[in-house]
């Protein structure tokens, strides 16, 4: 039924972090009716120009009957889950007057409160995706000044937190990915790429499977990704580090040494660096450079000495100094040293497959076989030509998933994974384990340019200071990332990469030494629902109820904006305007051969009084007297791209406000200019018709190694001398201020990570809650749902309808034998409980899950969101408690809870 008035409008979808992807929307007589891939982009988009199922929910989103379509004002001053907010419609003018009134009062009083924390806070969810929908709002925040963006809504517990920090530290890999198009053997510990890798992830892995790549999925349940793998290894939850250590053990203790990539280890890692008796590098007395043993000279020389033949292994004596924390010289003279590699090999000795079998319940023979298969596939010594350059070719990789690479054990897993790559030279080379993009280093849009020489032959990394002069017990924001988490760095993303649950936890009781944490005076919330998506949702709700003034950009009512004072209806995905960068390398597996920009444009007119985010930002800036700063921020490039380049300028007049279209017209021109070196300045109309514009991007730039070689740098592996030092300094600083509540976390700063009884930590947590571990024998896990993850689309009927075709979207997945034992039949109502909390849902009986594991996909348990509130699904978030004890040194926690399980109403009599 095509209408004469039908047209197809190009736009983008960035609902999940695995995007952006490109689509067209069919519009008939002004009504959006149909989503299709952008076939014109098939040649440049690494997923064939397609979008995933979530994008098809956008039409229903646009016309959702429960949309908030006018600004709304809360009339009930009491806030609580059981309090009706009494929202009444108000005009935009009234809404702006109210909000600007609060903001201007803050400006008058001071941007920071008495504790030194910003009075204004903002929370955006979805791994940075809201920024692709909030127009120029970041320019408003930039103009405003300090804003606390550390109130978490899932960060740290729903993300790859350890990977973000350690990945970026070791190889500029905020997200780590296999080089899927060239990998032949992939060990995937819980990485659920088929559900969370987006269009491109699914596309690449499907091709790889058919090509013959063998993927071994190590995971307690048979996930979508496990299903699509050659082999499933059901591992005990939170024991992945033991499994990975055992793989390393086989590589360094069982395999002949020459099967490892020895030149890579010698030249491109710190393996030959000599470590002294106190665990710090032996250093040259004058240059203070780490020493290596030069077999040619028969002497220790600085790591960058010319013409040397470094010893990879061995123990040597050298005239050196050893420098510990706070520049203290710990030893000086003829000092015994061992190479970092030798220490690593010794460190790994106890971690045999037989040992690991007892820990992770994977047979030793299987671990050994997997390690050997990994080695057999590594092609050590082979090379490949990429865009005219010859690179090592190592088609083996290891990927880690959520719950594996966050919380306790995350450091160990990330280190083991990166080392498994390094041992065979498969780090940052074709076929190997590579990074996608940077978020803590700069510039964010060019990973290779972020590589700069740092200390000791390694890449520089913007660690937060731990020295006496610069470390401060007074953090800039409430989650204290700058004070507590050196690895979190201090960029725009760092706030969200700190311990974002601390912002909530500390509202009740701020630990000793930190300034008292109090609620922000004004809290902006957009495209996130922490009352559902974070740990310990009941307490998050109670705390947000204490916030004095909450401004929520609202699509529909939800559990978070239930506590808001003002609801603002923003123009949604198909109604608003924005230009973003596409291409290059982006997470999760977006590796492009192009890079450029794509436009999101109003496909249809906004419903009701919904207003484009850019208009809202401009108005707020004006009413707060910040237009000059706001427009200047846009000119600087806060809205995607700087408006001035070499020989061209489309900068906006900072003395006045500009319309939405005028702003984006300038941004569009600047983007065109950037891509054409100023030759072309295409305006908004051109971009609306074209949708996107790109330049070629060399595949060579997918790999970091050539950049390191070019700059003569090494990967900071295997020995973590710098982290050991930083940890010791941080400990010293904290103890100087009598702050001892972080001592357990300080133990994570080890030069060589060791296995700890990670599952046992959950036993401890149960006991702390007054429970007996034996009474809570099940591991409750969660997994991403491709249909829902990051989408904020829980209210879309169509998404629910189609997602229910996939097991687990109707309830909690329970192992068949477990269900029979407990008298539970498919569809029965079951209760999962911790000592103090419980959640209920239907049982979904499947065989693809360990008998001691329960799986609740996604994050539900809604009680206010229209449509979703009737789902009746169990949620892990209801049970998980925010706990300092379960927070690791990077400030993250794993998405795991120990629970009991029972059938509501008692076990069935007949056993099925």
């Amino acid at each position: 039924m095509s209408s004469a008035a039908a047209k197809r409008v190009p736009t983008y979808c960035y609902q999940c972090v695995a995007g952006p992807d490109l689509l067209t929307v069919k519009v008939e007589d002004g009504v959006a009716t149909e989503v299709e891939p952008n076939f014109c982009a098939a040649a440049i988009h690494p997923g064939g120009g397609k979008v995933c199922v979530k994008a098809y929910g956008l039409v229903q989103k646009t016309y959702h009957p429960a949309r908030v379509l006018t600004p709304m004002l809360r009339t009930n001053p009491r806030k609580g889950r059981n309090e009706d907010p009494g929202f009444v419609p108000i005009s935009w003018d009234d809404a702006f007057t109210l909000i600007a009134g609060k903001l201007n009062a803050i400006r008058a009083e001071g941007l920071l409160n008495e504790s030194g924390y910003p009075r204004v806070a903002a929370t955006f969810g979805g791994g940075g995706t809201p920024q692709s929908y909030m127009g120029t709002f970041p320019a408003f925040l930039s103009a405003w000044g300090p804003v606390d963006m550390g109130f978490g809504s899932g960060q740290g517990v729903k993300c790859y937190h350890s990977e973000h920090l350690y990945g970026e530290f070791w190889h500029r890999a905020f997200i780590v990915a296999p080089d899927t198009p060239r990998t032949d053997y992939l060990i995937s510990c819980g990485a659920n790429v088929e559900a969370s890798g987006g269009v491109v992830g699914v596309w690449r892995h499907a091709n790889a499977r058919v090509r013959g790549m063998k993927r071994v999925q190590v995971e307690p349940h048979l996930s979508i990704t496990g299903a699509c793998s050659a082999e499933w290894v059901p591992i005990k939850p939170k024991t992945d580090a033991a499994f990975l250590f055992a793989l390393m053990h086989v590589l360094v203790h069982d395999a002949p040494r020459e099967r490892l990539d020895l030149p890579f280890l010698v030249k491109r890692t710190a393996s030959p660096y000599l470590v002294g008796p106190n665990g710090y590098y032996l250093r040259d007395r004058t240059s203070r450079k780490p020493l290596v043993w030069d077999r040619a000279r028969g002497a220790a020389v600085p790591f960058d000495a010319a013409g040397m033949d470094e010893a990879l292994e061995g123990r040597y004596e050298a005239d050196a100094i050893e420098i510990g924390p706070d520049d203290a010289v710990l030893a000086d003279g003829r000092l015994p040293g061992a190479t970092a590699f030798t220490l690593t090999v010794e460190h790994l000795r106890p971690y045999t497959p037989e040992w690991a079998e007892r820990v992770c319940e994977v047979p030793a023979a299987r671990i050994r076989r997997i390690a050997n298969e990994y080695l057999d596939h590594a092609r050590v010594g082979e090379t490949i030509e990429i865009d005219g350059a010859t690179l090592p070719y190592r088609p083996v990789a290891v990927s880690l998933g959520k719950t594996v690479n966050n919380g306790w054990g995350g450091y160990e897993c990330c280190w083991a994974r990166t080392m498994l790559a390094a041992l065979v030279g498969a780090l940052e080379v074709p076929g190997g384990t590579i990074g996608t993009t940077v978020r803590l280093n700069r510039p964010q849009n060019d990973r290779l340019k972020s590589v700069k020489a740092g200390p000791d032959g390694f890449m520089a990394y913007p660690l937060n200071p731990t020295d006496k002069e610069r470390w401060s017990p007074k953090p800039n924001i409430r989650n204290a990332y700058k004070t507590m988490i050196p690895l979190a760095a201090d960029g725009p993303w760092s706030q969200a990469l700190g311990p974002t649950h601390f912002s909530w936890m500390f509202l009740d009781e701020t630990p000793k030494g930190l300034p008292q944490v109090t609620p922000p005076d004004v809290w902006f919330v957009y495209r996130t629902n922490p009352a559902i998506s974070f740990w310990d949702t009941a307490s998050v709700q109670q705390k947000m109820a204490r916030f004095p003034f909450v401004v929520a950009f609202a699509f529909t009512r939800d559990e978070t904006n239930h506590f808001a004072d003002v609801l603002l209806p923003d123009a949604v995905d198909l109604e608003s305007l924005q230009l973003i960068r596409i291409g290059g390398t982006k997470f999760v597996e977006q590796f492009w051969n192009h890079q450029g920009f794509a436009l999101r444009q109003p496909v249809v007119a906004s419903q009701g009084e919904a207003r484009d985010f850019t208009d809202v930002a401009s108005e707020l800036a004006e009413r707060c007297g910040l237009t000059r700063e706001y427009v200047a921020a846009i000119n600087r490039g806060v809205a995607c791209v700087p408006l001035k380049g070499l020989g061209w300028s489309v900068e906006l007049d900072t003395s006045r406000t500009h319309t939405r279209d005028a702003i984006w017209d300038a941004v569009c021109k600047a983007a065109s200019a950037e891509l054409t070196d100023g030759r072309e300045l295409h305006g908004l109309d051109w971009w609306k018709a074209q949708g996107l514009m790109t330049n070629p991007f060399s595949q060579l730039d997918w790999y970091l190694l050539p950049t390191l070689v070019e700059q003569g740098l090494r990967f900071e592996l295997p020995y973590q001398e710098r982290l050991k030092r930083v940890g010791a300094e941080l400990g010293a600083r904290l103890h100087e201020h009598d702050m001892r509540w972080w001592d357990r976390q300080l133990e994570e700063y080890r030069a060589l990570p060791a296995w700890k009884d990670f599952p046992g930590l959950w036993d401890d947590a149960l006991r702390e809650q007054g429970g007996e571990p034996a009474d809570f024998p099940f591991w409750m896990l969660t997994a991403r749902s491709m249909q829902y993850a990051w989408g904020g689309n829980v209210g879309m009927q169509m998404i629910r309808e189609v997602s229910r075709n996939i097991a687990g979207h109707r309830g909690v997945i329970v192992n068949g034998a477990t269900a029979r034992r407990l008298g539970i039949a498919d569809g029965d109502e079951i209760e999962l409980a911790t000592p103090h909390r419980s959640t209920r849902g239907s049982a979904v009986i499947r065989e693809g899950i360990r008998p001691d594991t329960l799986l609740a996909i996604g994050q539900f348990d809604h009680w206010a969101t229209p449509y979703a509130k009737d789902f009746g699904l169990a949620s892990l978030n209801t049970l998980a408690t925010m706990s300092l004890g379960l927070t690791d040194a990077t400030g993250s926690g794993a998405d795991v809870v120990r629970v009991s399980l029972r059938r509501v109403g008692g076990p069935r009599k007949e056993r099925r």
Binding site: A208, R209, G212, M213, K214, R215, A230, N805
Partner: protein, 285 residues
Amino acid sequence: MTYGPTPWVQRHWDLRAATNFVAGGAGAGLVVVSVVSGARGVPAAIALLAGLALVGVGLLAVWLEIGRPLRALNVFLNPRTSWMSREGIAAVVLGALAPLAAWLHATGSAAAPSTGALAALAALAFAYCQGRILRASKGIPAWRSTATPTLIVVTSLAEGAGLWWLAAPWHAQGTRAGITLFGLLLVARLVAWLVHRRTIVRHARASAALAPAGAVLAFGGTFAPLVLVAVAAVSASEGWVLGLAALAGALALATGAVYKTALVVRGAYNQGFAIPRMPVRGTPT
């Protein structure tokens, strides 16, 4: 509704469709049995009309089930391949012949038996079409069995006979030969059911779902009435004969209805989805 490898019961046809098989089948059977039994006069006319009425009730029930009742006449458009079209045509023929034969019987016309025989043929065709309708339903293992048409036809006849004998105290035209025929039909129905049951035994869910109704058919609908019929056959008292035969008839009718209803709405499992090979993802272990 769940979609997966596990079969589930079709929901397209419900009690209304079952009514067509139950009432229409018994009605068609009544027409056939009354004619074969050599019924005459007003009772024969009433049997013919009652049989037709039951067929009508069945078709009315179906009419209430179809989505577009106003287009019902389109049902006749595909006699070339569709047993439903053919069923409709058989019903129309029966609808013309049965009243005619009834009128001829009522008026004592000599043409009554031959017209009645034609009507019986139409009724038999109707019942056969019903059997073939189910047989052609490839989505439902319990229906698509080769044994289904025989089962449906024999069941219809047995139920028709049951109805005829239920009314025997009133029409008083039962004969010993007729009661023997009734007994034979019950046996034939049991055999047809056993054969059918064997053909679907591989479809566990359908078999299990039909088992209770099958037991009812075997014990309440075959063995019990057979005993009654046997007792009636040797009984000297006319009253006893009629009473026992009527009771047997009621049992045959009711249990047939129970079984057919079960077949249409309870045992109508599809075969789910099945893949003979699991995909090989990447290089296997």
